[in-house]
């Protein structure tokens, strides 16, 4: 018994000593598609965000404050109104005014923050876009509570893949967004 306690103390001490290796001031740079170019930043991602808002951002799915990969947008959850300075009577409700730039930026952070290291690798062509959960889940290649959202040839999937590859396929994104 004493030997077991001694082993436990050793393991605990080893685990605790490992915790002190973290550099609190370290900065991890994360890259994300197309937002590197400020000139086209919002407009490129707006097309993609429209697809995400429509297909993922329903209020009982990712358009919920309780969900990881939270998506804001005009047809779903709005970023809390206080921060935007807009109230429901100004059309700031689900189904109301267009997605704001701030909501767009939050969606961008959501998407890129899901797997930041892998997203960086994708942007730097060290990994394939299809490796991301963002692509795998809606294709149901990974377990997804929301089921299959896209087939591989669907414009929505093509849109997201094109953005991840560095050049947004406007036609595919627009076509998906126009679907009921």
């Amino acid at each position: 018994m004493n030997r077991a306690w001694f082993a436990l103390v050793l393991v605990t001490a080893r685990a605790l000593s490992g915790c002190s290796d973290v550099d609190e001031n370290a900065v991890t740079q994360v890259r994300c598609p197309t937002f590197d170019d400020e000139a086209t930043a919002f407009e490129d991602f707006r097309l993609v965000s429209t697809v995400l808002e429509k297909r993922c951002g329903m209020m009982d799915c990712h358009g919920s404050m309780a969900r990881p990969l939270r998506i804001f947008g005009s047809s779903g959850l709005r970023e809390p109104g206080v921060g935007n300075g807009l109230a429901a009577d100004a059309g700031y409700y689900p189904g109301g005014r267009a997605t704001t730039e701030r909501e767009l930026l939050d969606n961008h952070r959501s998407v890129c923050g899901l797997e930041p290291e892998l997203m960086t690798a994708v942007v730097e062509k060290q990994a394939e876009p299809v490796d991301l959960l963002l692509v795998q889940k809606p294709l149901l290649r990974e377990k997804h509570k929301g089921g299959r959202v896209f087939l591989p040839a669907d414009e929505g999937n093509v849109c997201i893949l094109s953005w991840l590859s560095g050049k947004v396929d406007e036609a595919a994104c627009t076509a998906e967004a126009a679907k009921p």
Binding site: M58, D60, C61, L77, R78, P80, A88, Y93, P94, G146
Partner: protein
């Protein structure tokens, strides 16, 4: 020893619940006086929260909600056709009752989410009009899971037929709807 362990485990599991859902159900409050549990009770509340697998209220419902006249006026509308198309192309239709309620039981229909929903309603003058929901329903069978009360940044407001009252206005429902004396 094994028996005691089994009993302890059973007691532990029996205590398992979902405090979030429990709180949501508690927040719904009591029944309206005179309107006992029936197809007319608790309009505007998230039906499947109780009539679902967790709470187990009978009957189990798969899809249910309440339809009102306008976004601002919580006047329930009777006879609205609710048209659902699910992800495998199955189509279903129901009509609202005098409380504005409609529902599918789990025995009648288990929808394949996501769903596209339309409503069709008759105004006093003119032909039947239709309105489509702007987004799809992802997984929640309760309309009021998202359509909570007044419009806000977190709710599209009630499910309604028209942006404003038509001329002549929608008929006011019978005040005795669902009331048991």
């Amino acid at each position: 020893m094994t028996g005691a362990l089994f009993l302890a485990l059973a007691a532990l599991l029996a205590g398992c619940g979902n405090p979030v859902v429990d709180d949501e159900i508690s927040a719904l409050g009591d029944e309206k006086p005179g309107v006992p549990p029936s197809e007319y009770h608790r309009p505007g509340q998230p039906c499947v929260l109780c009539h679902g697998p967790y709470e187990g209220a009978d009957p189990e419902l798969s899809l249910a909600g309440t339809i009102y006249a306008t976004a601002e006026e919580p006047v329930p509308i009777e006879g609205v056709r609710v048209l659902v198309t699910d992800s495998v192309g199955a189509k279903r239709e129901k009509r609202t009752n005098c409380a504005g309620n409609f529902f599918w039981t789990a025995e009648e229909y288990i929808p394949s989410f996501p769903l596209k929903v339309e409503i069709a309603f008759q105004s006093a003058s003119g032909p039947e009009r239709r309105a489509s929901m702007g987004s799809r329903i992802g997984r929640d069978g309760s309309c009021a899971g998202c359509h909570v009360g007044e419009r806000s940044d977190a709710s599209p407001g009630r499910v309604f037929c028209a942006p404003s009252q038509p001329t002549p206005p929608f008929p006011v429902p019978d005040a005795a709807c669902g009331v048991v004396r």
